[in-house]
């Protein structure tokens, strides 16, 4: 046996897990990436793209291509992309949407139909087409990559258009360290210009990968989220998404176990996913996947909300603040660099420490007044401001 692999403590665990299942038949295990294999193989980023070496300059209104995976109706990431496409169109630019997927079958017509009809998406004028080997249309002067895999077709495209990268999360973190991590991380070496959701990503991409990176701030919609309950609140909230690893569901449950023991008179609401299948060791209300217009009523019953974000911060903390809920957020630059709002209650990501912070908040004598002040503190954060910042970054980069 080749045992010279050197020190590694979990090998036996991996082998053990492996051996529990029936050994696979020859030639049966598929290898798949989000990116098309040919694209991953052909991109040699150690040789920069000509459009990056000699960027074209464009002044005035222009044609912008966005390459993205086929949007699903409930995909928050895609909804946010279209929010910003809409800002570009409102500023007078023309947008062409190109769909790219290595595996998922999709229909351009159905995607267009969904975006047009869904209340979760804005009305855009953009055209929709399949991304093919032909590349983007000849009139395109700027290409936005979105998810990491879409950076590959952008790199292979022969168009001289300026290359931008709309980055909403640090996607290498979505994988255990391995081939996917490498393929995702490599896209930050492509020489594209990043426009990121929040300051953490811009900081990380510029300091660790030398990318030119700017960011826009998150917004919270005051029409949706506001204080309607100024009484003392006797419930708490946890944003529970067991299917999204970076939301730290298991860690949150460990913390709430302490909280439930210490403050048994508080109702614990879990929302974001139907968690009934999970073994949860305390009483809770399973709110499942709430509609956006049902959230403010729930928020207004809650004194504090636990929101764990292990990569880029969630939008939830700002929305909770707007509704007078004090968010307990895990300590880390990924959250601090996105919002330094003084009402965010940062805590070490230890089950005890998170619970203690929640207890501290529900025990506050001045909680009703504090909640109103928290809501006031985010009054200036709205998406229109973010949109203006985005368009300004884009246009000045194109000119420069």
């Amino acid at each position: 046996m080749l045992r010279s692999d050197g020190p590694k403590s979990v090998v036996s665990k991996a082998i053990h897990r492996w051996s529990r299942s029936i050994p696979p038949e020859a030639g049966t295990i598929k290898l798949g990436f989000l990116v098309k294999t040919t694209d991953a193989s052909e991109v040699d980023w150690s040789v920069p793209h000509p459009a990056v070496v000699n960027p074209i300059r464009v002044d005035g209104k222009t044609v912008v291509a966005w390459i993205m995976s086929p949007p699903g109706e409930s995909s928050g990431g895609h909804q946010n992309i279209f929010r910003f496409i809409n800002f570009l169109e409102e500023a007078g630019h023309t947008v062409r949407v190109y769909l790219y997927s290595a595996h998922t079958p999709y229909s351009v017509a159905l995607v267009k139909e969904m975006v047009k009809n869904s209340p979760s998406y804005p009305d855009v004028k953009a055209s929709f087409e399949d991304y093919t080997d032909e590349g983007v249309a000849a009139d395109v002067t700027a290409i936005f990559a979105t998810g990491w895999e879409t950076a590959y077709p952008s790199f292979r495209d022969r168009s001289p258009a300026r290359r931008f990268y709309f980055v909403q999360d640090f996607e290498p973190y979505f994988y255990a360290v391995g081939s996917d991590t490498v393929l995702a991380e490599n896209t930050y070496h492509f020489g594209f210009e990043a426009i990121t959701a929040g300051g953490f990503l811009a900081h990380k991409l510029s300091t660790e990968y030398g990318m030119k990176a700017s960011s826009f701030d998150f917004g919270a919609n005051r029409e949706l989220y506001s204080v309607t309950n100024t009484e003392r609140r006797k419930e708490v909230f946890f944003y529970a998404r067991p299917v999204t690893a970076r939301r730290g569901f298991e860690l949150g449950i460990l913390a709430l176990e302490h909280f439930a023991r210490a403050r048994p008179d508080y109702i614990i609401n879990l929302a974001g996913w139907d968690v009934s299948a999970y073994d949860i060791p305390f009483d809770y209300v399973n709110l499942k996947d709430l509609k956006i217009d049902e959230l403010n009523e729930v928020y207004n019953r809650c004194a504090t909300g636990l929101v764990i974000s292990l990569t880029n911060m969630s939008l939830l903390p700002l929305e909770l603040l707007s509704a007078g809920v004090i968010p307990v957020v895990n300590e880390g630059p990924n959250n601090r660099l996105v919002s330094d709002n003084p009402f965010l209650a940062y805590s070490a990501a230890s089950p005890h420490a998170l619970a203690n912070k929640m207890i501290e908040i529900v025990d506050r004598q001045d909680l009703p007044e504090y909640a109103v002040a928290a809501s006031e503190s985010v009054r200036g954060s709205d998406w229109e401001t973010s949109g203006r910042a985005f368009v300004e970054i884009f246009e000045s980069s194109l000119r420069g």
Binding site: S12, S74, S75, G77, V177, E185, F218, E223, L290, I292
Partner: protein, 417 residues
């Protein structure tokens, strides 16, 4: 007009998330494992540890004790071919040979009971494991470790939790062999693993990259030992020109980036179909590989040198703590093409290691250049000689020296807590 005010979508509109739709696609798999007990650590132990409050072993460190030290090692049940366990047992053996005692406690969340008889038999019959005198026990949370234990060693991250919870002020050591949070996507397991570096244990790390990372990023104090190449097994026995290449392929070990290596070799084969590609480390036959290759599966250590000596270059990818392989293949005259990163450069920075960016095209081009190198034979000879003449410091000596200093309280008051 605000978009959100018109939205009647669900809470899943929580905002920027590139991969939401991808996550949905994976649901069918994830819902099968909907128990909290699937982590390597027992949830009870994870809940009980509060590392934000300084523990007894930090506030009231024990008096110096450097002889006849009673040590307890907490470790997951070993497998016959587990390099990590073999290395840990080697270090337990160093302690026994230095006059200390070792008791091994097996910790696991697997529902299958631990078979101590089978483990004893496996350890006894496997030459890669030393003959340990110490007792082997199953960790029982009700009983914990012996109360007269002087030094507790955690190994894999999950064992740091029971090590922390031991009620006495016995010294805590952490035998770290890799940066284990990287084995997970960002999520609860990542956090639970990462937090163990904040427990205030004294690290004994494999290589200086890991030790310096744990100190720089988590304030974890500690020492490291260097790896040593086994000169008996690896040497230059072929001084002719070589036309083959090697890939260290371990598909079940994500950090060895099998899929990425496959991209590199696909490109290499497209450009140069005449170059023979050897894969060692695992049986690759279940995996689709779009080019011809020799499947050596997991060879015995005694058969490796012969295969290595057929190869001009080797592709070796290490995404966390580096493998020993680059040094071993160099001893056999093979140029290692290694991904360029601090975790590979800080272990053994030899001018003969060919560091390359993780671009499939660039790596394929380098392997071809190595095969075509006019000076291939003389280069291989001087490279093998450089490894043969390296004076490896014995890891056992380093470890016992550092252990004794820590037991003498050399670092008390200087630790993170």
């Amino acid at each position: 007009m605000s978009l959100m005010s018109r939205a009647v979508a669900s809470l899943t509109t929580e905002g920027p998330r590139q991969a939401a739709s991808r996550v949905f696609n994976r649901l069918s798999i994830q819902l099968q494992t909907n128990r909290l007990g699937d982590s390597l650590v027992r949830p009870e132990d994870a809940v009980a540890v509060d590392w934000t409050v300084p523990p007894l072993f930090a506030t009231d460190p024990p008096k110096p004790k450097t002889e006849n030290v009673k040590t307890a090692w907490i470790i997951s049940p070993p497998g016959r071919t587990s390099g990590g366990h073999q290395n840990a047992f080697r270090f337990m053996d160093f302690l026994e040979k230095a006059g200390h005692s070792v008791t091994v406690y097996f910790y696991t969340t697997e529902s299958k009971p631990i078979d101590l008889v089978a483990i004893r038999e496996m350890l006894r019959s496997t030459s890669a494991y030393p003959d340990l005198r110490g007792q082997l026990r199953i960790y029982d949370p009700e009983k914990g470790l012996d109360l007269d234990t002087d030094a507790v060693f955690a190994t894999g991250w999950e064992t740091a939790y029971p090590a922390y919870l031991h009620p006495t002020n016995a010294r805590r050591f952490y035998f770290t062999q890799d940066f284990e949070p990287a084995f997970y996507p960002s999520g609860s397991d990542y956090v639970l693993a990462e937090n163990t570096y904040r427990f205030g244990f004294h690290g004994i790390s494999a290589g200086r990259w890991l030790a310096s990372k744990l100190t720089a990023e988590y304030g974890m104090p500690g020492d490291h030992y260097d790896y040593a190449v086994d000169k008996d097994h690896y040497s230059l026995i072929n001084s002719n020109r070589r036309t083959e290449v090697l890939f260290y392929a371990r598909p079940p070990t994500a950090r060895r980036a099998f899929e990425f290596g496959r991209l590199v070799l696909t490109e290499l084969h497209r450009l140069r179909p005449d170059i023979v590609i050897n894969m060692v480390g695992w049986d690759i036959s279940p995996y689709p590989v779009p080019f011809p290759y020799v499947n050596h599966t997991a060879l015995d250590i005694s058969q490796l040198n012969e295969v290595y000596n057929r190869c001009a270059g080797a592709l070796i990818l290490s995404l966390t703590n580096m493998s020993l392989l680059p040094m071993e293949v160099m001893a056999s005259g093979v140029v290692p093409v290694v991904n360029d990163a601090p975790n590979t450069r800080e272990i053994f920075d030899s001018p003969y290691i060919d560091y390359q960016p993780l671009s499939p095209g660039a790596m394929a081009a380098r392997l071809i250049a190595i095969v075509d190198d006019e000076n291939q034979v003389s280069h291989a000879t001087s490279m093998a000689a450089s490894v043969a003449s390296t004076d490896w410091i014995d890891p056992g000596e380093t470890f016992i020296r550092d252990f004794t200093a820590a037991m003498a309280g050399a670092a008390d008051g200087a630790s993170a807590h």
